[in-house]
Symmetry: C2
Subunit: 444 residues, 2 copies
């Protein structure tokens, strides 16, 4: 199973003070995206664009006075490697699929020929099936990755919606080899393609399943032997519940389940999570905390909290007056369903007090200077390819040392993106027209 | 002086026969562009695009039958180097300008300070001034070159129209050094920029000079010490008269003036010119040819000829019925001015019988199959940087061998572009929406 993740961070600074010196642990987790991980393709191009600007700026200032120069920030623009690393992860998944299915491919060909007389099954092409949203607008980002997959790895990809998949997908069962387990069926699309990897760029919001047929398409793909990206387990990482558990149950969830018992690594990771709380009283041991008390704190100090539903992607946060109204006015007697939904599904998180700076954005063909009104979010891409087996007897350190117990074929950072937006706009992403793509300037 | 040229060729084949094997000498000169040399920036990107298509095509066909494969053309797509070579030529011109003016720069600073008290002349930035057309549409091509000039050579460029230049250009004279010649004045634009190179992407059609002010701007730039691209001598190469002379007076013009007396090189070059004729009887020695006879031949066999005015860029050819009407109906008595203009300015050229093939073009977002209706034109970029001196006592071979007599700092091929268009459309370029950018597939 493959994960192409983007974990977003914002820097948290003391509320009243000047930002002061930056430390790594100030960067706090905002969310983990497992499908809505856009801009891995475009991010390097933003770096190139800023590289031109920086070089131009240096020429403009090279003859200026020392006083003017002191106001120029120098440093190195870090070009994101995501445009190369993400396609490499998809290629690694195709290679793993080939290796895993090689022993079954001959029988698949026999079975497929029997079911489709006259068709030569060796002409079915292994592809990366990209499941896209209806009317996807962010196609440039996707094609940048898929062209690199073609160029560098000689792997073809096809982009289809769930509805298109439903109309043309066939699962082909393969008889088990003597004494061996049966493998899941091969996924043949449109009588032409063999799906080696299913790369979801859709299916992270309920609107991506407008019909029963789209749900059935998803189920068929999940049942097939194609490598899913993300797999259902990796997709679970996106839920705010998991991030809350990483903070509130660090021993069991972060250290033992996530990091194979490595307490030092768990401590390093946990400091990047803001305090966040379940609102479900059944999850609290007696005397160990009261979600109703957290709710009252949020109503009393709404600037310090944000309410997060179990959704991925921007635009879903509830904060400020809206949060107060929702929490204060939803009583168990008047709105029992919503009341319980909030307590079972929503997470209450301490709000990140991010630093606000002056910056310039280029949007809709115009340059806007945002005076003390720009904030930035750092998204770090990561790719992970695993066989899905979990062996609790090995911790992370041992996994790396003992060849036989590796579960991960591949597990690495894969570049980054910065998105900057007006600080006085509560929420909203790049595709919503609020935020801009940005990049990091590394300074000493 | 700098030339960034694009010489266009089409392949000429025997009219009645199959094209047969291709030979180098079949490629005939169509025109020499000295300003209207677009697509040096975009050409490499077309190569990349076709590289993707070829790689995709190879994946699609790798499992197909031998019969299908035999219909697939294989070969290597040649990525044009123009996106790198043209900026390198501009950078070489800036370096030559610096070297040539270094001895005068100190006095320039003194004189400029006197005329502009309080201004520090060392803050004037040397730039490449790109003179562009009003409402230029082909900006992507230009910026691709200028970004590379910045990235690879750290040289800044500014794009201005002639009208903008006129309003903000100052020529700054510099006193001659003792015992030395006076240098032409420095060109200071907008009180900020020192024009090292003037790169014309405008001023090749009369419409580029809508006012007297634009003519004056051109004159000021020509009088300055900036390296002009093209210089007036290089610009002359674009005139059809020169190409006609290269064909009809190969000894004097091609061998002696163009190639320093190298008869072998002249013979190689001349075979790439179609027969073409002056229509001016004063240019013919007694008994050596009669332009009125050529005109009668063109009227009798209009498919074999094309009439070319002294203009650069596509869309100016006169052929077919229009040519017949112009030549036959313009009599000396009825239209004396036009009659003499045709005979003094126009060139009559044997038409190139180019091969027509089946091809596919992608235009306005749609794919069009042109069944036996596609023809291609090869444009070869060349860059030449010279000090403008001409020493007739050295031929080309000696110039290369004797260090002291070099006139050319730089003289090299600089990539290529192919433009393909429907064969049944007489004339029209890419920006006119008729032709498409294309690239070459090198086959054995």
């Amino acid at each position: 199973m493959l994960g192409i993740l983007r974990t977003d961070y914002m820097r948290a600074v003391p509320a009243a003070a000047q930002p002061g010196a930056e430390t790594a642990e100030q960067w706090k987790n905002v969310e983990v995206n497992t499908i809505s991980c856009s801009f891995a393709g475009l991010s390097p191009l933003v770096g190139d664009f800023h590289q031109y600007l920086q070089q131009h700026q240096r020429l403009v200032t090279q003859t200026r006075s020392a006083d003017e120069l002191s106001r120029t920030i120098t440093g190195n623009i870090e070009r994101s490697t995501s445009g190369v690393d993400v396609p490499a992860a998809l290629a690694a998944a195709v290679a793993a699929w080939r290796a895993q299915l090689a022993a079954h491919y001959g029988r698949f060909c026999e079975d497929y020929s029997r079911a489709h007389p006259g068709v030569n099954p060796t002409q079915l092409q292994p592809v990366v099936l990209v499941v896209v949203q209806e009317n996807e607008r962010n196609t440039g980002d996707q094609y940048k990755l898929l062209f690199e997959l073609l160029r560098a790895h000689d792997i073809r990809s096809i982009r289809r919606t769930h509805a298109q998949v439903h109309d043309a997908l066939e699962l082909v069962d393969v008889a088990a080899a003597p004494g061996a387990d049966r493998v899941p069926p091969f996924a043949v699309l449109e009588g032409q393609y063999l799906c080696a990897v299913v790369y979801y760029r859709s299916a992270y919001v309920p609107e991506d399943y407008p019909t029963e047929a789209t749900w059935r398409a998803r189920l068929l793909l999940e049942r097939s032997n194609a490598v899913k990206c993300p797999s259902v387990p990796y997709h679970l990482l996106t839920f705010k519940k998991i991030q809350q558990l990483l903070f509130s149950d660090p021993e069991r969830v972060l250290r033992d389940l996530g990091l194979g018992g490595d307490a030092a690594a768990a401590a390093l990771v946990q400091q990047h999570f803001m305090p966040q709380y379940s609102l479900n009283r059944h999850e609290y041991a007696a005397g160990a905390g009261d979600p109703e008390a957290y709710i009252q704190q949020a109503i009393a100090a709404p600037d310090d909290y944000v309410l997060k539903p179990q959704l991925e992607g921007g635009g879903n946060l509830i904060a400020g007056a809206e949060m107060v109204a929702l929490l204060a006015q939803t009583t168990e007697t008047d709105h029992p369903a919503l009341y319980h939904k909030i307590r079972q599904e929503y997470i209450l998180m301490r709000r990140i007090n991010f630093p606000v700076v002056t910056g310039v954005v280029f949007r809709h063909g115009e340059i806007h200077v945002l005076q003390q009104n720009l904030c930035s979010e750092l998204g770090v891409y990561g790719t992970i390819l695993s066989d899905g087996r979990y062996d609790a007897s090995h911790n992370a350190g041992q996994q790396q040392e003992q060849g036989g117990s590796h579960h991960h074929y591949h597990n690495a950072v894969a570049g980054y993106i910065v998105r900057s937006k007006p600080a006085d706009v509560a929420d909203g992403g790049v595709m919503a027209g609020v935020a801009c793509l940005d990049c990091a300037l590394l300074v000493d």
